[in-house]
């Protein structure tokens, strides 16, 4: 069938004076398949669009080329207009003759405007319709990790009416919260109770993920619980696997034991100080020795220092390099601690720590005093190094998602922040994605809950069907696209009983076209940015018109 292209030129209120529009118009008429060229002044306004619509209808135009301002401004409005005219919204090709032509150059740019228009026309000749369709999504959500963040996710999702399965590797829910004695803001017990009572939350403890397939809306997951292996389907997955504290004695030149104690041990002491034989006279906290770029140890040291002051009345020293105060309210806690007599000693070179007469001897150069000092502590609370939870790597390889340079969930890419990962429908919240304090983790949870709700709440998602698609006839099943897709959106499916071929999930595809560029069989077409469309533009460059 003959293609009928309508070209709509907009001179932006006759302001683009370095383009000779009549000339462009005259020559555009000669381009292949062009049946109409119209000159407008305000295509972006309602009346302009109305004008265009009636021309499209009257002229039986089936491909629209608009040479006007940047597509970043009005592309969507134009696409809607096409639909209104009864055309497929993909039958639109734009030439940016304002921002990237008239405004960008000095002198007459008629030739360039013409060439840009010709490029758009050439491209328009290869456009194919795109159909929107509804795809069903599974409304169940998998939450991995039963600590504070995971529990909160499950509760918040249940509040919004989404059913969740909460998988926890340990014996019970709670995670590291058990140690949060000093943070009364976390209502651990009531959360646990609420989860138990909620019929929309299924809790699987002592359970782990073993396999994961599929994409957003339709993940198939195997979960091992005891000797059983359960198969479940979910629409989305939220990771809340937390972190693993690690004390490496090498950092302190001491064996962890009586004197060098962990945060956990300190919490135990603070819970029941009466069990101590002797009240410790001096307690020290050492920071920035294992990892000087981490917030969490500072936060717990500050809270614990205050608790020690209150419950044990000991002298408290905090040895650190740079105190990490860049979390909400921490500067205030720091000030309060100083007011209450906690001594902060800052160093440039790491302190020398050793045991002497059953106490811990900390020798360091106090930079404020500019002098060597020695402090004897009854207990030295070791700094915890914040590490990714055990099995993070395995878990992320099960779900084909990338980890960051330190092994935490979620690649270091600003477009993924706060809670997304490169695979749609998988979210990472809280400390599993880095050194996040509990306030930030709460925020993460809410953000992920809302994003999940948006994806799944209606039970269907609208997609542009087969915008990027594999031609099953041409697919050589080399798996290249599956290996390179950054969004894990491609899998093998059986098209007939004989052969498996690659297929792209319309819902999971983010439309980058990396697969289309790399496919060695040229089996992948990307409507709008297909080879023939891009090459059509290239072909129009330099053509004398």
């Amino acid at each position: 069938m003959q293609i009928r292209i309508g070209v709509f030129l907009c001179d932006c209120g006759k302001s683009l004076s370095n383009i000779d529009f009549p000339k462009v118009s005259e020559r555009a008429e000669k381009l292949q398949d062009v049946v109409h060229v119209g000159l407008h002044s305000n295509l972006c306004l309602k009346e302009g669009i109305e004008e265009m619509l009636s021309t499209i209808r009257d002229g039986a135009i089936d491909r629209v080329v608009i040479a006007a301002c940047s597509p970043k401004l009005k592309e969507d409005a134009f696409r809607n207009a096409l639909e209104e005219a009864g055309l497929n919204s993909n039958f639109l090709s734009l030439a940016n003759i304002r921002e990237q032509c008239s405004w960008a150059h000095e002198g007459d740019v008629t030739e360039k405007a013409l060439e840009l228009t010709a490029m758009a026309v050439e491209r328009a000749r290869f456009l194919k319709p795109l159909v929107k369709k509804d795809v069903p999504v599974n409304k169940e959500v998998l939450v991995v990790g039963g600590g504070f963040a995971g529990m909160k996710v499950a509760l918040d999702l249940a509040n919004l009416g989404l059913r969740t399965t909460l998988v926890e590797r340990g014996l019970a829910l709670g995670g590291r919260l058990e140690g949060f004695e000093t943070n009364p803001a976390v209502p651990i017990n009531s959360m646990r109770k609420a989860i138990e009572e909620n019929r929309d939350i299924e809790v699987l403890t002592s359970a782990e993920l073993t396999r994961g397939e599929g994409e957003v809306g339709d993940f198939s997951i195997r979960i091992k619980k005891g000797d059983e292996e359960l198969s479940r389907s979910f629409g989305a997955i939220i990771f809340a696997t937390g972190y693993r504290p690690e004390i490496s004695p090498g950092d302190f030149q001491l064996r962890p034991g009586v004197n060098l104690i962990s945060q956990e041990k300190l919490t135990e002491i603070l819970k029941a100080p009466e069990r101590l034989e002797l009240r410790p006279k001096t307690i020290g906290f050492v920071l920035d020795v294992s990892d000087e770029n981490c917030r969490l140890p500072t936060l717990s040291a500050l809270n614990d220092a205050l608790a020690v002051k209150e419950r044990l009345g000991s002298e408290v020293y905090v040895f650190c390099k740079s105190l990490k105060v860049d979390s909400e309210g921490v500067e205030e806690v720091y000030r309060e601690a100083r007011d209450r007599g906690v001594v902060f000693v800052k160093f440039e070179e790491r302190p020398r720590i050793c045991s002497e007469d059953g106490r811990v001897k900390v020798e360091l150069n106090d930079i404020l005093l500019g002098d060597e000092i020695t402090v004897f502590c009854d207990f030295l609370v070791a700094e915890e190094r914040i590490m990714p939870s055990e099995g993070t790597e395995a878990l992320s390889s099960i779900l084909k998602m990338r980890i960051d340079s330190r092994g935490f969930c979620q690649d270091e890419n600003v477009h993924l922040y706060p809670v997304s990962c490169e695979r749609k429908g998988i979210f990472c919240v809280g400390a599993c994605r880095g050194d996040l304090d509990i306030a930030r983790a709460s925020t993460d949870v809410a953000a992920a809950v809302l994003s999940t709700y948006e994806l799944l709440a209606s039970g269907t998602a609208i997609v542009e069907a087969e915008r990027v698609k594999v031609d099953p006839e041409k697919c050589r099943v080399c798996l290249t696209c599956i290996r390179v897709c950054p969004h894990g959106a491609i899998r093998l499916v059986r098209v007939d009983t004989e052969r498996e071929v690659a297929q792209i999930s319309d819902l999971a595809c983010e439309g980058c076209g990396i697969c289309a560029a790399i496919c060695p069989a040229k089996a992948i077409d990307f409507e709008g940015y297909g080879d023939e469309q891009i090459l059509a533009e290239v072909q129009a460059i330099g053509e004398s018109l």
């Binding site: 803001a185 340079s405 922040y417 993460d444 809410a446 709700y453």
Partner: protein, 414 residues
């Protein structure tokens, strides 16, 4: 019961909140006092060297564009909240919009009005390149017509007949189920610390100045003579962690280090020094970056007390190097003051209108520490830096979290 929602403030947190709500089907009114949305972050610059340094500025334009074209979001620029009645699920908000002499939906940004405007500087100015909506703005104080003279040049030439001097301030009443406050912050005014010479010496800049210079010019040149900077100093904690600002602004160490690195990248011969109290180097991906920076950026513990101009036009910085225990003078050709995040001075007005509390530091007060979105008024939530300092990703997260709280309210209203 209302299922639409109101977001006050079109900065990055407000925009994130509006998008999240609108994507979930709520009709969102996004109101902004300025003529365009985007807030501070829209005017910031990418700080990538040859690689991305994760400043997150590049995520802003995309979000703004999404908001601009979202069918569920109505943007009201030049607007402010003037009154509130009703309660959760059923707020009646009175919004006051300044006269829209050039309504954004009619302006095609052709620029002919500015060409004919006879005043100098022009009363009609072009929008900043990243402005959303991208439409021309009329400065009431300069416009001859609005001053009572007879000038119709711009109105006559406007090809879309967009300009109308008869516009009056407009009062609108919006019915919404939930409200998100995302009014953002003010940048600390470095003039308040007179001894550091800001405003007195052209080569004393603030972090905000650097953002603008790099955004517009792409490269840092000495403001005084246009030459490449050779010795650059950054001074941290300007307007943070002091007597009147009992908090860490959370963003300054990172932007300073990123700028330092960028300056070194563009100009490898420059010597860059950062003066600090405590370096805030935590955060996803930042540690590795900081470690690389340590190789060619000098970090000095101790804040300068005075910056003085020398006769040769350089800047003499007097500081105590705490680690060495010495007081020194050193000359630099640029001193950049890492100004922090301050609460908005007019927060008090909005707090009174909405009935929400202000905290000790002047930011809006959250009800509980673990839900920093909730206020003392049910159905009104906080997002972003109006509640406390945050960087861009944290503000986006906080905006989304506020939207989640609002969504819960709206769901209950259904």
């Amino acid at each position: 019961m209302e299922t639409s929602s109101l977001v006050i403030g079109g900065g990055v947190a407000g925009v994130a909140a509006a998008l999240a709500l609108a994507d979930n089907g709520s009709q969102v009114y996004l109101i902004e006092t300025e003529p365009s949305i985007g807030g501070w972050a829209a005017s910031f610059c990418c700080k990538a060297t040859d690689v991305c340094t994760k400043c997150s500025v590049c995520v802003v334009p995309q979000k703004l564009q999404q908001v601009a074209i979202h069918p569920h979001i109505s943007i009201l620029t030049d607007s402010m909240v003037a009154g509130l009645s009703g309660g959760i699920g059923n707020f009646k908000v009175e919004v006051l919009q300044k006269p829209q002499y050039i309504p954004p939906e009619r302006c095609i940004a052709c620029g002919m009005c500015a060409e004919v405007c006879p005043t100098e500087p022009k009363a009609i100015r072009s929008p900043s390149p990243e402005a959303v909506p991208y439409s021309y703005v009329l400065d009431e104080s300069r416009c001859l017509r609005l001053k009572g003279e007879t000038c119709d040049l711009c109105r006559d030439i406007c090809p879309t007949n967009a300009i109308d001097f008869n516009h009056e301030p407009e009062k609108k009443e919006l019915g919404v189920g939930a409200i998100i406050v995302a009014t953002g912050f003010e940048v600390f005014d470095a003039r308040e610390m007179g001894c550091l010479g800001y405003g007195r010496y052209p080569n004393v800049l603030t972090g905000l100045d650097l953002e603008r210079i790099f955004n517009r010019e792409g490269y840092l040149k000495l403001p005084s003579n246009g030459k490449d900077p050779k010795k650059v100093a950054f001074v941290q904690c300007i307007g943070s962690r002091d007597e009147s600002h009992g908090y860490c602004s959370q963003v300054c160490c990172k932007y300073a280090i990123r700028f330092a690195r960028l300056i070194k990248y563009q100009n490898p011969n420059a010597e860059v020094t950062i003066f600090y109290i405590d370096l805030q180097t935590a955060g996803k991906g930042f540690a590795q970056f900081y470690e690389e920076c340590q190789k060619n950026i000098r970090f000095v513990r101790g804040l300068p007390v005075e910056v003085l101009g020398t006769s040769s036009g350089e800047l003499e910085v007097r500081f105590e190097n705490i680690s060495e225990g010495t007081v020194k003078r050193e000359t630099f050709d640029v001193v950049a003051l890492s100004v922090g995040i301050s609460p908005k001075k007019d927060s008090w007005d909005l707090a009174r209108t909405l009935g929400i509390n202000l905290g000790e530091c002047g930011f809006f007060d959250a009800k509980e520490p673990l839900n920093s979105n909730e206020t003392n008024v049910e159905g009104i939530f906080l997002a972003g830096t109006c509640q406390g300092p945050r960087d861009i990703p944290d503000s986006i997260a906080h905006g989304m979290a506020a939207a989640q709280s609002a969504m819960e309210v709206l769901e209950r209203c259904k």
